[in-house]
Symmetry: C2
Subunit: 200 residues, 2 copies
Amino acid sequence: MGTPDPVRRSERARTAVLESTIDLCRADGFARMTIEGIAERAGVSKKTIYRWWSSKGEVLLEALAGRAEIAAAFPDSGDLVRDMCAQTMSVVELLSPQETSPYASLVAEGQRDPALSAAIRTRLVDPFIARFDERMHSAVAARELPASVDLGVAVDLFYGPIYHRLVFGLGLPDGPQLETRVRHVVAALRSGGVPRPPAG
Amino acid sequence: MGTPDPVRRSERARTAVLESTIDLCRADGFARMTIEGIAERAGVSKKTIYRWWSSKGEVLLEALAGRAEIAAAFPDSGDLVRDMCAQTMSVVELLSPQETSPYASLVAEGQRDPALSAAIRTRLVDPFIARFDERMHSAVAARELPASVDLGVAVDLFYGPIYHRLVFGLGLPDGPQLETRVRHVVAALRSGGVPRPPAG
């Protein structure tokens, strides 16, 4: 009502910083982005940013943690192949185009900064895997997967192809390529793998 | 015979630079390593290094290209599961421990530097995939895999789990974890994936 509202002003500053970080990362790339540049674009002081975060990697993680909710959505239509095609495609979209994707920059930066990597696991990866596991349990309940399914194998096989292609710049998979991979992974999980030879 | 031999001296300097790069990368990490530090340790001038390479990433790639031959060896005992367990383990060993592995640093740096990434593909990834494809063809000839096997799917599924765990610091797979994944992948490739529903 005309009185200053520091809480709301602070919230506006936070939002401006996070949005400016995404914009700058996309425009200039993570390496060229600076805290100074973010502050200038957001109309706040560097001190304000450093009050909340200790590095540009941490600001970017915070900016993406909200948006990455999209990729942590696991559709459950009762058709595991279709749902995992849609889910893995949403991850590919987050990472595309690789050259300017803020999420791809965050993944790369995490490999150079163990503290940031730990924060990424806590904020993004662990909640993602928890929702993934829920979707797999639902597939077991629907008898689309055996109860003995190895969830660690499942997450590595569904998402491994994306990150294998990402780290070597081999081109992220398109829809048909993802579908072929998802169909192979579902077959693998149903089979439980080729059997070990009998002992002795 | 007592006369100076510039070719041999130059070769010794090259070797000293490449070995110093691996040592420094392992000791200090890629981020803290400098061309100046490499020159000092190798007993050459910075100018000598810049005559051959344009960045510390390029020096590291050259230093690893020789050693990575080890991981590009594809045993062919006639037992695909056993051979791929050994092969993927040799890749895990190159990347271990992740915090100080020069190869893991190179993979991370490639994601920030498109020119280095292209050089990594030419020097390391393309020859690796060519040998991988040969091993898969041999498995087809031995009727361990169907002739219709999709080699792009195969390479993504065999190596994806390693790189998925690498990029998120989830801990590289140990021997039993690799074997479980390899057994799943071989089952997937034999099945060709769960079938698409008939059109119409």
